[in-house]
Amino acid sequence: MSEKTIDRLASATPVRVARKVKGLSDRAIAWIFVGPTIFLLLAINIFPLLWTINLSFTNFKANRLNREVKYIGLRNYERILGDADVWLSMQATAHFLFWTLFFQVLIGFTLAWLINKKFRGNDLWTTIIVLPMMLSPAVVGNFWTFLYQPQIGLFNYIMTFFTGADPSSFDMLGSVDLAPWAIVIVDTWMWTPFVMLICLAGLRSIPDYIYEAAEIDRASKLRQFFTITVPMVLPFLMLAILFRGIENFKMFDLVVQLTGGGPGSITEMASINLKREAFEKWRTGYSSAFAIILFVTVFGLASVYVKALNKVKER
């Protein structure tokens, strides 16, 4: 894992070699090589971020160029934090985040554990299972709206087949009770393989001799599972949760295509709310402040989490 990277980084070119190098100095080459990348990131990532921070203190509207732009201090931030609809959208995000992580970890880990039994053809089936996560969420999400159609959709038909309910009696995307779960189902379908792959790497990193030693100590299989398998895979699992957590906090394309935030505002998650404010209502200043709040939230949560992750790894 990543410590390795850092170790290698530490050992740069030995001085005795460096001295004999012809042409440009290493330092010059290093900057020539790194420069363009840094420049591009400054231009398209950092400069925009600073600009967003600046805009977040104004009443600027990107569709009203003739209007006077005023600095209004923290007014945007106050409004956002005091807005009930913003909190509802945060709740929608939290619901989505929690349940997608829950199911993906549960199913992903189980699958990895089963695949690690090394049955014949497990490589082939792993590759097949992985396919959904590589595909375009917008295109696939859009097609799921077809699978979810109340009268003709395949999903409803299959549910009907198993439950006996009338296929037009439930509407996954249109019902207030079901829509939050409809998006969880699709996201779980797409991203469980991600958690699975990482868990699989974790399982495969456990050396056989640990189990052999446990066997000599007559530890039961169940005990081995909880004292060896789970702790050894945990750092990997936590890494998977980190990646999925960040991604699903930002979730936009899949949900836009599936529900567009509806019905009502039930699935209007933070990123969709932000899109409406920024590119439909064109409240640029307000939405810049919203963007900063989201970024700080993600960044803050991720930093705390990474600290915890490092503690787990040290054990």
Binding site: P36, N59, L173, V176, G264, S265, I266, F279
Partner: protein
């Protein structure tokens, strides 16, 4: 990279220069929504291409994405569209933010008079500030929200008898909103020719403007007003008047008791689908679709008839329709104006109507034969006499999104009461107008 950019910008301006010096044969792009009338316009425009030597390209965006994409395009100063047939509510923003070219001088020079067009359409599609003689568009397509129904079902003796038995009244085109509800509820879940059918297809779409356009079709007949005093933005008591509350509750009842299952996010396309597949007895939709519906091989012809949005306390229809504008970022403004001049010609307007476009030109509308030229032509004139439009403010998008949210939350997602939804709407709108400095 910098070189690359400069080079490409240079190439662009070079290309632009060569284009604008050549007076002939420009490539024009006209942007509009993707729907039946747009296809008719493509056909109609072939005459323009032949006459002028310019060639026409079209960018048609599906309705649910239309406003989003086109407003984004205008706000980014995009050069995609030379001509834009934009929705009526965009005119305020288009004018104030300089997206649209002001057409007064051009009209004067070419002798195009707005008096030749129906006053309601000029007011709604062309002027900003509203009603002032400042024109930013030429009325291109008159439209309103109307209804159509299965004439064959309404005419069947067994169904008529069943309706009489159920309600004690005669089955026919509804004369009021409440009668419409009664008929829709009567058809809901009924077996006709072995299929279960439903009452009415209405607008419930959340993403763009659907449910607002549907709900206002109930609100206006009940006497809904945006302001107590026009121009004062005093909404308390108008937007949440008892009539408005009753109308919104009515719309929810219509949705809950008389629409097909899973009809939670439906707009024009879904309404057409539901009707054409024989699922519903009645459906609301824009007049723009009526020529296509009448021509439909399965449910058109003598199986269909049309009616104006029924009155309740008063007559009222939701306005649709668009004017055609020249985008100020276009590099082909002269050729675009040429198109507008060609389009305003009475002969072209007559042909436009014959192909399925709703001309707003008096020479077409006042023609004695107009009323009988199509089964919905008379209804169209009636509807246009009592149309109301949504706010046309520059902040229209914010106002619309707020209403979409509040109405969808109440009607579809069962959140709160009608009064609460309208109260919240006033709060949202007040905030917008405060930001605008109008309150």
């Amino acid at each position: 990279m910098k070189h690359l950019k400069i080079a490409s910008v240079g190439a662009l301006s070079l290309a632009a220069a060569t284009l604008s010096t050549g007076s002939q044969a420009e490539d024009l792009t006209l942007c509009w929504a993707a729907w039946d009338p747009a296809n008719a316009l493509v056909e109609l425009s072939k005459d323009f291409e032949a006459e002028s030597g310019h060639s026409m390209n079209f960018e048609f965006v599906p309705w649910p994405n239309f406003a989003d994409r086109m407003l984004n395009e205008l706000n980014s100063g995009g050069k995609l569209c030379d001509l834009l047939i934009g929705d009526s509510q965009w005119i305020g923003g288009g004018a104030e933010n300089g997206h649209y070219v002001k057409l007064n001088d051009f009209f004067d020079k070419e002798g195009i008079s707005m008096d030749d067009f129906a006053p309601a359409t000029v007011y709604a599609y062309s002027t900003w500030p509203k009603g002032s003689p400042n024109y930013y568009a030429l009325p291109a397509m008159g439209d309103a929200n109307g209804w159509f129904y299965r004439k064959d079902w309404f005419g069947r003796d067994d169904i008529k008898a069943a309706y009489k038995e159920a309600t004690g009244e005669e089955l026919g085109e509804p004369k009021s909103q409440k009668e419409l509800l009664k008929i829709a509820q009567f058809f809901q879940g009924r077996e006709i020719d072995g299929n279960t059918v439903y009452g009415a297809a209405i607008f419930t779409e959340r993403g763009s403007e659907g449910i607002t356009m549907g709900a206002t079709s109930a609100l206006y007949p009940w006497g809904f007003k945006y302001e107590n005093t026009p121009g004062k933005y005093d909404m308390e008591g108008a937007v949440n008047s008892p009539e408005a509350v009753e109308a919104l509750e009515f719309y929810k009842e219509l949705y809950k008791t008389a629409t097909p299952p899973g009809y939670t996010n439906s707009y024009m396309g879904e309404s057409l689908d539901a009707f054409k597949s024989g699922q519903v007895a009645m459906a609301m939709n824009w007049f723009a679709f009526f020529p296509g519906l009448y021509a439909d091989p399965d449910t058109g012809g003598d199986k269909i008839d049309f009616f104006v949005n029924p009155p309740q306390n008063q007559a009222g229809s939701t306005l649709g329709g668009q004017g055609i504008s020249v985008v100020s970022y276009s590099e082909n403004k002269d050729a675009s104006l040429e198109y507008i001049k060609w389009f305003s010609d009475p002969e072209v307007q007559a042909k436009w109507w014959s192909m399925g476009g709703y001309s707003a030109h008096n020479s077409v509308l006042n023609d004695a034969s107009f009323k009988d030229s199509a089964p919905f032509a008379g209804d169209f004139l009636t509807a246009m006499e009592a149309v109301q439009d949504f706010w046309q403010e520059p902040a229209y998008a914010e106002l619309l999104l707020a209403m979409q949210k509040r109405v969808h939350d109440y009607v579809v997602a069962d959140k709160g009461t009608a009064k609460e939804a309208l109260d919240l709407l006033i709060e949202d709108w007040t905030e917008v107008f405060e930001d605008e400095g109008k309150l």
